[in-house]
Symmetry: D2
Subunit: 309 residues, 4 copies
């Protein structure tokens, strides 16, 4: 069994990514840790608990940091709805979060399985950075760290310069990016254009009739509107599920490369920009594998497969 640890600011697209991880064969999700991001961390925990209940999954869920390292919180209600799940008034899950703190679970899990953990991050990197500050030695013990975050030398989604997850806590991102972890950066741009779900594709998924397909499409209705109206997409963008697909099946990557990547933390204009030295002009040691393109058909096939069961 491959061992996954998922850190998430659970909102509507995180929910889909969580479902995928729990439906993919051969994966055991050791823990889900929640961080402040799209919604306050307590709401994120509720959303994660509900999602896993729909999945019939008993993965333990842990609450983490309630605000970014240095910045004020900045939620994404405009994209995901007030509750992050499209305001569908989902019931409270029966299970509860575990008592331990997310950062300790991250440290302990990685140390328990040295070299075995695939860490998938779907939110701001506050939990991971805080764990690294306390225990920098975990960086070299992670097998892969797949990050949904950043915009690789392209336009951002929350500002023209930056992607939301990195923008919310750029200091955390800088700590993680320079920690020595084996990182694969899956920028939001990989969920744009033909990677977005069209109306027909959304309908097809809904017709699967499974509980997970229902939840996945229903809770993303607010995100669908925002994708089209605010970010000029041809349909529903699903950045977290795309990153999860890369984590589950690295074979969907068509082009990637390892580069020196840095995160902007001093300027407001470019706050959270992920600067990739793709031409190698800085002559610095590459620290991040940047995913430039994926096989869009396979990404959608993977999504369908996960939501059919």
């Amino acid at each position: 069994m491959r061992k996954f640890l998922i850190d998430t600011d659970t909102a509507s697209d995180d929910a889909v990514a969580l479902i995928m991880a729990h439906r993919w064969p051969g994966i055991r999700v050791e823990a889900v840790t929640v961080v402040s991001g799209n919604v306050p961390v307590e709401q994120g925990v509720k959303n994660a608990l509900y999602t896993l209940e729909v999945c019939n999954a008993a993965t333990p869920i842990f609450i983490g940091c309630s605000k970014p390292i240095l910045r004020a919180s900045s939620y994404a209600h405009w994209f995901h709805g007030d509750d992050g799940m499209g305001n569908k008034n989902y019931p409270e899950a029966k299970s509860k979060a575990q008592p331990a703190h997310a950062t300790e679970v991250i440290i302990d899990t990685i140390k328990t399985y040295p070299g075995e953990i695939t860490l998938v991050t779907l939110g701001p990197l506050t939990n991971i950075a805080t764990a690294l500050l306390r225990a920098p030695e975990i960086a070299s013990l992670v097998q892969r760290c797949v990050i949904m975050g950043g915009a690789a030398n392209t336009v951002g989604n929350v500002t023209p310069a930056a992607e939301y997850n990195i923008w919310v806590d750029p200091e955390a991102a800088k700590i993680v990016f320079h920690s020595g972890m084996q990182i694969e950066m899956v920028g939001w741009e990989l969920s744009r254009h033909d990677a977005a779900l069209t109306a027909a594709e959304i309908e097809a998924i809904t017709s699967f009739g499974t509980e997970t397909a229902r939840l996945a499409m229903e809770c993303n209705k607010t995100a669908l509107d925002a994708s089209i109206n605010i970010q000029s997409a041809p349909g529903l963008m699903l950045p977290d599920p795309v990153a999860m697909a890369v984590a589950l099946d690295p074979g969907i990557v068509k082009r990637q490369g390892k580069y020196f990547v840095d995160v902007e933390i001093t300027s407001e204009l470019t706050r959270g920009a992920t600067i990739v030295d793709e031409l190698g002009v800085l002559h610095k040691i590459p620290n991040i594998t940047v995913v430039w393109s994926i096989d869009v058909s396979r990404w959608k096939e993977h999504l369908y497969t996960c939501l059919r069961s």
Copy 2:
């Protein structure tokens, strides 16, 4: 006759752009003003004088600012050679620069022909910004300002975040970009990929046998090597001539749009980045027309036509 005013840090690709402006029918170049950039401003003046001598052009040339507004000078000898012209030891021109200062000539020329001047900038924007500080009213009197500069939400050439002309004097760029001038931004990326001249195309141009074709290809040999070896281009990139082609024939633009664009001045990592709000998330008033793509065949045809005569 259309009236052009060209501001340039004359090095090898500026030389080609100067030739184009002087060979294009129906254009009168009122003045060439020189600024510190690729080379010290005195060397830039020498290069401009020699280039116009080869063109048999009597356009007056004026020396301008010898360093950026707040930053130290940073020449591009690594790209254009020690003299900016590929180290071919070109002779000194017979004519000299005129005594007036470039910034005064810029102010006076624009005021003399209100609404008639096409300002083409091929170097850092120090001269233009200094003129605007002294006489902000000229901004509304320029017909078009075509700027070779920036990288529109894409990788830069001098750093991963920025294009050379903007990076050298980002404060000047910020002043100009927010001055109210009608600006068309032609980023360096428009000279990449198939817009670069292949070995065959360079040979074809050389075979024209004209003095201008000889100079254009000969002085860019250092730039050709740098294009291929440092910036992974398939041939010779010519950013200034591409911008000049847009100035001469706006019809070569395939896609453009007007956006709010800002210039990064506070951070070292992203210094000089040109941030284009292409998704409109900032809800600010558009200030710059950004050129996204050009008709590459027509750009090359225009270049050939200019160098054949």
Copy 3:
């Protein structure tokens, strides 16, 4: 005759400084140039014209830059009143500003009298910086440049980190501070504490019965209130007249030294801070003479003498 050139954002304390320069024996004020600062530049010109009319002085007055180099204007109506002169509805002066632009007058005057000009700046340094960008050679031609501006490693007045004149246009200050000019920095702190005019001293001055004494005390009534209520001073602080007193009589300086001084331009928190390397830890070449203390009795005597006639 000593030759003065005064650059001012004329508000109530500038007015007193202008009077002092015009009453001091052996001084000829070659020109008064006005800059945006406490009030819009057009209002500053009006205030300067009125003040010189009260002085019966025919010094030519020139309008300069209408906004800082990169920042938005930020007037000091809260300190000096809406018109900068305590809202006394002073009549319009009969004379007008001269047609030339302040920056050109600054360049020309300094070049006409190389090594002879004492430049006194009482406002943001936009005019001086713009002149230096156009003609950097004037820096070495100024005899002394006495700057009212900055806070030498002490609390500021407009923010805890910065003094108003430097804060308004920190980029201009940075340009001037590193221009090579012989600069004496007279921080706002030299007008605090016992250098401020007490109620008794204000009454004494008013009782002189001269027009200049009347104007000086009357137009500063708003500034008096702000000194006491906003900046916890024991009376009326007069930064510009203190700097003028240093320019007129360098003998009032009790302690000064030459240091490397830099101006903060990247951060909002410390924008405009004047960082003085008083312990020499940076090992950089000193560029500014910082005035640490003055003979307060002599400063007040000089003020009285100037306002008595």
Copy 4:
């Protein structure tokens, strides 16, 4: 018994402060936590262990963070010698550091004694900030937090703008300063001028003949030279012991006040500056009690008393 928790980057002046805390009646030091600062954290642990051995104290010592949150380490060997203790080749202590991590000990100790702990910080604030990121609730559980750090609107020691402890990890300082903890800031300036130990005073202390007096004066010989030669002090500056004296006896404070204080993190020039809104112009909620002056005689008496036994 009053309960102290001391966080220290143990070098020569930290050693004196540790001695003071262990000699003061009625104090129990619950733990000493060590952080990277003057010396690498492992060396700091050695120095702390040796110092407590000389004190015959069994206080447990814990190792903490090995580098600042975002910055590279920058040791103060130039001030304290290669080993931080004046290069006297002190023997290794018999005891060892405890296995737990400093940040966990900080969290646990404060939670074990809610409202009872006096936290005294003598180094960069990395450990405290990391603890706060993990457990922000401890901020309100600390009785007092006395910080040796900062320069209250005055010149710094490591740069003209900043004091060493804050400069080394300004992000940590910003986190701690805005955490809601009851903080008393004791700037380095309180150890300058007549608070420094003169040659006669150093001799007097040495003549006490105790082991602690010997260690205190011997290990600070390098610091004495640096105080005089680099920072123009009249003798040995002891910032950490001064802060400890304030923690032990708040009665030595002559003037203090509570203000809004912020830490500069964006600019290199002013990195780590502690900006105190002493005039209240920002109208923000005060977060830090700033100590402006102390009773120098009493500070020295306290020092003598502690070193005599």
